[in-house]
């Protein structure tokens, strides 16, 4: 699992620019499913055929990042955020453009109070001294991801883009280890989740599934002076009850609960007060789809040091497999 996580998290795939990560995932699942397609927006849809219920599994391939919007005469690059980029998390970070160009992200020195920091007062330094030189490396509209290597320490994984490459890893591992089932399963690696759940919406419309389960990360309440939240790293995958985009269907919640009990893994419930996720778009697409999610507890989401427990990720795989096999309507 760690090797897969490492490979997936260290591949670039900023929202709207998922080509590279899509190819990596495609290679991982090739031959394990009956059909692989890419749709208009770029979702990767892998189908395992069957005569039973139609289930959609969703994990988003995209990650947050930045887009170059302006280059000044001295070669400094101004940028916009893609997805929820926090200005404080961004200070002193490295970003990597798709062509490999690395830049240092910092803020204008005349800023007297850090409280007033805005992304518009920050820039990317790619180490050149003219606009002409900069344009050889970076064009307007080019995107970059944050740099954050993937390390394992005991049971803990620290990396960029665990949101949601850890979910992608869970789905890939499930595909590779699925026993035979009657159910027809659509494994969807979605695009543009961080920009507003866009890929999930169009994928669900095409598939019109009987049920949908997303696998994504969620926040935790287990760090010093953190906001109150019951989810803790290491206490098992979380069954989503609600977030800002969905109140999960009781049928899906029950299915996940029963499956977790049956295979005897630890689990917890997730009530997320901020943020949305793919099932938010899926459950109101195509006339309505009962939807829910398996969430991986993750600290410091949307930073280059997202932190999650390996056992939670491994148990999420087991929970997903059991749920997919036992759903009968």
């Amino acid at each position: 699992m760690f090797d897969l996580l490492k490979k997936l998290t260290q591949t670039t795939g900023v929202s709207g620019n998922e080509e590279e990560i899509r190819n990596v995932i495609k290679e991982e699942i090739k031959g394990k499913v009956d059909q692989i397609t890419v749709d208009t927006l770029g979702n990767l849809i892998a189908v395992k055929k069957g005569n039973g219920k139609k289930i959609m599994v969703a994990a988003h391939m995209d990650e947050i990042g930045v887009m170059a919007t302006f280059i000044d005469d001295n070669g400094f690059v101004r940028f916009s955020s893609i997805g929820g980029v926090n200005q404080y998390n961004s200070i002193g970070q490295k970003v990597r453009f798709n062509n490999g160009t690395i830049g240092a992200l910092h803020y204008e020195q005349k800023l007297d109070d850090l409280k007033n920091l805005k992304l518009s007062k920050m820039y990317i330094d790619i180490g050149v001294d003219s606009k002409e030189e900069a344009l050889k490396l970076v064009g307007i509209g080019d995107v970059a991801c944050f740099v954050g290597d993937c390390v394992k320490q005991g049971n803990i994984i620290i990396s960029k883009a665990l949101d949601d490459r850890s979910g992608c890893a869970v789905v890939i591992d499930a595909i590779n280890n699925m026993p035979k089932t009657e159910n027809e399963i659509y494994y969807v690696f979605t695009v543009q989740e961080e920009l507003g759940l866009r890929g999930a919406k169009t994928a669900a419309y095409q598939i019109k599934p009987d049920l949908a389960i997303a696998v994504d990360v969620t926040l935790t309440g287990d760090t010093p002076n953190s906001h109150l939240m019951e989810v803790k790293c290491g206490k098992g995958p979380a069954i989503k009850i609600k977030d800002r985009s969905i109140i999960c269907h009781p049928k899906v919640k029950k299915l996940l609960e029963n499956s977790a009990k049956k295979i005897n893994i630890p689990y917890q419930y997730e009530v997320l007060e901020a943020g949305g996720s793919d099932p938010g778009a899926i459950h109101i697409s195509a006339g309505g789809v009962p939807s829910g999610a398996i969430s991986i507890p993750c600290r410091y989401v949307h930073s280059p040091v997202e932190t999650a427990c390996l056992t939670d990720i491994e148990n999420a795989v087991k929970l997903l497999i059991e749920s997919l096999c036992s759903f009968s309507g």
């Binding site: 692989i36 208009t40 000044d72 518009s120 866009r198 169009t202």
Partner: protein
């Protein structure tokens, strides 16, 4: 001139009738089917010789404005904003109220009666009123019903040689360009020319139209922000007046199809037509809803930069308008020559 007539019509979001009627009359005889759908979009179809692909052109008919929400005892009208309006631009403006187009002006407590604290802050929209010259509540009620729309009063005017001032350039510029295309030839592909409603209150018409049509590609033609003015840093310019039509890479609503965006940008460059990228990623337009219609749609937005957008005194450059028109025209010509191009931008390539 079409743009003069279009901008002097009133069509605040939800009340696009006047604009729709005008466009419908202009369109008559130039297209094969005219549909007005349930939400009020006007959809004109120019059938293709080989209708394998459907292309949608989209411009919204509606503009920002106000709505009457109440009366004061003294006969003044209270109002709310329809769409995104900077309330600081409202005071002292002339407006036309309701279907009868009753003249009014927007007022507030005079400066010499304001407390010091009031003088130092902006007057809230709730404290403003429209004066239509009525003395009593009863008189105002007779003239204007609750819920009636209020539009800015602003004549189309040329400033200097190359610049236009008008209200509602967002998005009558798009309507004007679509009407020109509509009056032109038929193409290989089916061309759905859509004049949408309620863009300014949440891209509502486009959501309905794109579901109905579900095109293979959509081009949204817009008036967009232009912030090349004093006290704004260069890197914060969204677009620059006079530097050509602006192509959006990404905004809050949509991430334009990258291959299509590049194609259009390069096509313009190769043909010497002025073109720029919209450099900021704020704002949104109909493309946001069209992109995620049904199974997803290949979209791009091409815009005319407009300073002081969403105000009665929007300003645009004639040459930017021309370049936007040329780019739309050139793109359609390319797709006409090679309809398979329309299908070449999408990501879905069956891989197994």
């Amino acid at each position: 001139m079409l743009l003069k007539e279009l901008t002097e019509l009133n069509g605040v979001s939800g009340n696009e009738d006047e604009v729709r009627e005008f466009i419908k009359k202009e369109a008559k005889g130039y297209c094969d089917e005219i549909t007005i759908d349930s939400i009020g979009n006007l959809i004109c179809l120019k059938k293709g010789r080989n209708p394998k692909y459907k292309l949608m052109l989209c411009a919204h008919m509606d503009e920002v404005g106000l709505m009457v929400t109440g009366y004061t005892e003294g006969g003044m009208l209270k109002f709310a904003a329809v769409g995104g309006i900077d309330q600081r631009i409202l005071l002292g403006k002339r407006v036309l109220v309701g279907d009868k187009k009753i003249s009014g002006v927007i007022g507030a407590k005079p400066i010499h009666l304001q407390q010091t604290s009031e003088r130092e802050s902006n007057i809230d929209i709730k404290k403003m009123y429209i004066d239509i010259g009525a003395d009593k509540k009863e008189e105002a009620e007779k003239l204007v019903s609750l819920g009636e729309y209020v539009a800015f009063y602003s004549k189309y005017l040329t400033l200097g040689d190359n610049t236009i001032k008008a209200k509602a350039l967002d998005d009558r510029v798009g309507c004007a360009i679509l009407l020109e295309i509509l009056k032109g030839k038929n193409y290989e592909f089916d061309l759905y020319i859509c004049f949408t409603v309620q863009e300014e209150v949440g891209l509502r018409g486009a959501q309905v139209a794109s579901y109905r049509i579900y095109p293979d590609m959509a081009l949204v033609i817009e008036g967009t922000t232009c912030s090349d003015v004093p006290d704004v840093e260069k890197y914060e310019y969204s677009t620059i007046l006079g530097e050509g039509a602006a192509i959006t890479i990404m905004d809050r609503g949509a991430y334009g199809n990258k291959k299509l965006v590049n194609y259009i940008f390069n096509l313009a460059k190769e043909n010497g037509v002025p073109v720029q990228y919209k450099q900021t990623t704020s704002g949104g337009n109909d493309a946001g809803k069209i992109q995620t219609a049904k199974g997803g749609v290949v979209v791009a937005a091409i815009s005319v930069p407009c300073r002081y957008i969403h105000s009665p005194v929007s300003v645009m450059s004639k040459s930017d308008f021309e370049s936007c028109m040329k780019i739309v025209h050139m793109s359609l010509e390319q797709f006409d020559k090679n309809p398979e191009l329309i299908n070449s931008f999408r990501d879905d390539l069956n891989m197994e």
